[in-house]
Symmetry: C2
Subunit: 321 residues, 2 copies
């Protein structure tokens, strides 16, 4: 079975590719293991470190040629991770619409045209929530975003849900918490600092935190998120029914608690300078920090336990300690 | 001030045009009355009975030329009613996407390009609800549609909400109950029978009801809906805040109760033949029949009182009795 990851040159995508290369299979709708015979990573940028055993497609995925190359008659599964991140989509409305919404639509149209009905795993985000939030977010809380990124993700969710009902694709949408700790350089996500305030001090570098220490965040580790993507894929279609969207479990943690965990892991919290950025603060503080993820639990999605475990996983996976 | 109604050759649009011609003004964001100096009705079809004092633009509104004609530098307000109805959007996915979503997007893009920030009143629908419904629908219930029509409306809602936050338009989205009693011929809405089972017997004609008598519906009269569109327009932007979507009040009524009201109004219920249509039934029964419309009440939207009043209004307005 041919499996494609869009945005696969990014951090989450390449981690997912690695896990799939080791795992060697995914489940089909009947629950049977199907060998991954070809793993394709499609991205606008070339991978920093290409993985052996992966076929790369590099270029603007919205070119008609690219979409056809990404989804061909042999494609059984698609992990659609390609996205313009939150702060960038807020600054460049058209680019965000193009990548976060139009590309999703083009992939669905292509699948429909060639009649392959692929499993279509889509990474949405807690950023679909923002306006008029109740005290507790549940699986039935309306998504009224306060960012263009959240809006574009929420529109794509709806389209995937409908396209699944119509039988064009077999969609599975997971709304990711803020993913931390991300390795490498900061990206243009408004939430980039959430990883930065742990990663940078652990490497002995100074960094800036643009929100106050009492800010609460809803986070999940890369390990848990990648496991969730595969779990979302392997669940039988009947488990999803006509509602193809799920809020993933996360943990609620304050910035100040993250700095305490940093200290316990041997990092120096004084390397974090607080310097408020109203634009970042407005976006990040519009996201919920507490959610009741009943449906995810019922569907068997994994979750993290606490911030120390998340920091430890980062140290193990990326600092080789 | 130039005011535009898209889909204005349809039943609701032409009724709105009539009311605006008599009213002669709309309020600006500061709450001041602004005279309507030009009323434009844009529609793919020519009006059955053109209204004196209205300028008509007839043609495919998605042509770049048309969008530019519809929204020009003098346009202060837009009532965007043009839509492909539910059963038709379900049968023709691409047409639905084009009219219900792409046209909305094109109008927003045009407004943004010429920097006019018009008041943008959009008719959405209770059809945005469908999957995983709780017992009571509130203003915070997630919109997970079970139809392509509902999906396209929900996506357009999100885009209007974001475009309002970004300042491209000043959007106001009203989710309409099923509108009854509609005059004229049945359209391709899955809910067309809701008007048909009253209108046709009142004219002495036989008609078919595709759902069982115990089916509950959430309905509003044309009078109330047109008044709501104008109310949505005239509300100050601060009243809407960052959440530009509201569920309009309706009344809950069973099909059997509608037939009792028909009898009280002098119609013959035996002219209604029950003949179930699984496609219509699946769509219509996925819509909620009971909603808590707290926000609409707080914002001062009008509502109907009971089914007899709705039938009476139809007889007065259209049968001239």
């Amino acid at each position: 079975m041919r499996v494609v990851i869009t945005g696969g040159a990014g951090f989450l995508g390449s981690r997912l590719a690695q896990v799939l290369l080791e795992r060697k299979y995914l489940c089909d709708p009947a629950g049977n293991r199907r060998e991954i015979t070809e793993l394709v990573v499609a991205d606008v940028q070339a991978p920093a470190e290409p993985l052996p055993g992966v076929r790369y497609i590099v270029g603007d995925l919205l070119e008609p040629d690219s979409v056809a190359k990404v989804l061909d008659a042999n494609t059984g599964s698609l992990f659609h991770l390609a996205a313009v991140v939150s702060a960038e989509a807020e600054a460049n409305f058209e680019l965000g619409m193009r990548v976060n919404f139009d590309l999703t639509r083009a992939l669905i149209d292509r699948a429909r045209k060639i009649g392959i009905r692929p499993r279509f795993v889509f990474t949405s985000s807690l950023a679909v929530f923002g306006a008029d939030l109740p005290g507790v977010i549940t699986d039935r809380t309306a998504a009224i975003p306060l960012s263009s990124y959240g809006t574009q993700k929420a529109m794509a969710e709806l389209l995937i849900n409908d396209a699944s009902r119509k039988g064009f694709i077999d969609g599975r949408v997971v709304r990711l918490p803020t993913v931390a700790v991300r390795p490498g350089k900061p990206n243009r996500a408004a939430s980039a600092f959430v990883s930065g305030i742990l990663r940078e001090p652990l490497a002995g570098r100074e960094t800036v935190c643009p929100v106050p220490p009492e800010t609460e965040l809803w986070i999940a580790s890369p390990r848990t998120v990648v496991a969730s993507l595969i779990h979302a894929h392997d669940l039988a279609p009947e488990r999803w029914g006509h509602h193809r969207i799920v809020n993933l479990p996360g943990i609620t943690v304050r910035v100040s608690e993250m700095l305490e965990a940093l200290k316990r892991a041997g990092g120096d919290p004084s390397l974090v300078r607080f310097e408020r950025d109203p634009v970042i603060e407005r976006i990040v503080c519009s996201w919920p920090a507490r959610m009741q993820t009943t449906r995810a639990t019922e569907l068997g999605f994994p979750s993290d336990t606490n911030i120390d475990q998340i920091v430890r996983a980062y140290v193990e996976d990326y600092l080789g300690k």
